[in-house]
Symmetry: C2
Subunit: 152 residues, 2 copies
DNA sequence: CAGATATGTAACATACAAAGTTACATGAAA
DNA sequence: TTTCATGTAACTTTGTATGTTACATATCTG
């Protein structure tokens, strides 16, 4: 199965936007992500509907953050994407008549459900602000490294 | 992403086999699973290599269980399949130079890792014997229902 | 108002992996 | 030696994420 990287992608975009005031055009964001503007609009559509970002057309238009970054978690972003499937595996048949299949499904569903719950829970613990803070820390340490490299 | 149902499928096969002495031809198993014999051979190949099942060619040949069902867990079966990806989501870039991407990956990797650990752990807690016992219970209650339906 | 710039979105192309199918080689039993 | 079964390569089908093109729509500027 091909892996879904939309959550990773949209977080990348949001974090970029959080580093400086907008607005950002889909074109600009697409270049930073090495992809196509339409892809950007596609994955941002859900976030716009939920009010996490705004988009403006025409001159000076583009995308702007429109939420409190300390209130929005990765889970919120995931839901904004349409809550795509979390697990790469699933049952062969969802509502089987076969008792064998039912026994298999029961065992797997338990494991699947627990894993999904943990994943959603972890995503719910991390806010966009925390991500931004982490990024600024990384930027800071890089700056220090650069200073050291230059003998400062 | 299309969901991988190989684990579900192979468990179905093993459970069928555990209900009566073999051997079972790929053709028989394929019919029970409403699929193709080659698909059966494909997903059983890994289990044969690890010694969980045996296969014999020619007249009277087919597949036979060759392990202690109380010792083999769903996790063992999963590994025998080649440990396919568990999560449907992943990072856009695995070893990014971009610090933004690194920050995003760090947060997601944590969540992904935890979810995978839980899933593997749950799979490791269930043996094929437990699955078989559960199935026999389901068969038993169906038999009782049938008896009731016939007024017994 | 006209032209430039952006998003919105449908439609189509591409890439990739699971699942299904076909064909044939190999080996074992009758 | 014929039949039955697995082993496996090669190809087709299918589903989904991703990439691309085309064009409608809205907004700012001159």
């Amino acid at each position: 199965m091909k892996r879904d990287s939309r959550l990773s992608g949209v977080l990348h975009i949001l974090l970029h936007m959080a580093q400086q005031p907008g607005p950002f055009t889909s074109e600009t964001l697409a270049k930073a992500m090495d992809t196509n503007p339409v892809v950007i609009r596609r994955i941002m559509a859900g976030l716009r509907e939920l009010g996490y970002v705004r988009s403006e057309k025409g001159h000076g238009g583009g995308w702007t953050l429109a939420c409190d970054l300390s209130k929005v978690t990765l889970r919120h972003v995931y839901v904004a994407l349409g809550s795509p499937a979390l697990l790469a595996m699933g049952n062969r048949t969802e509502a089987p008549g076969c008792l064998v299949e039912q026994a298999v499904n029961a065992a797997l569903d338990q494991a699947f459900h627990d894993a999904e719950a943990v994943l959603l829970s972890r995503l719910g613990e991390v806010t966009l602000k925390m991500l931004g803070d982490d990024l600024r820390e990384r930027l800071g340490s890089r700056k220090l490294q650069g200073m050291r490299a230059h003998g400062a």
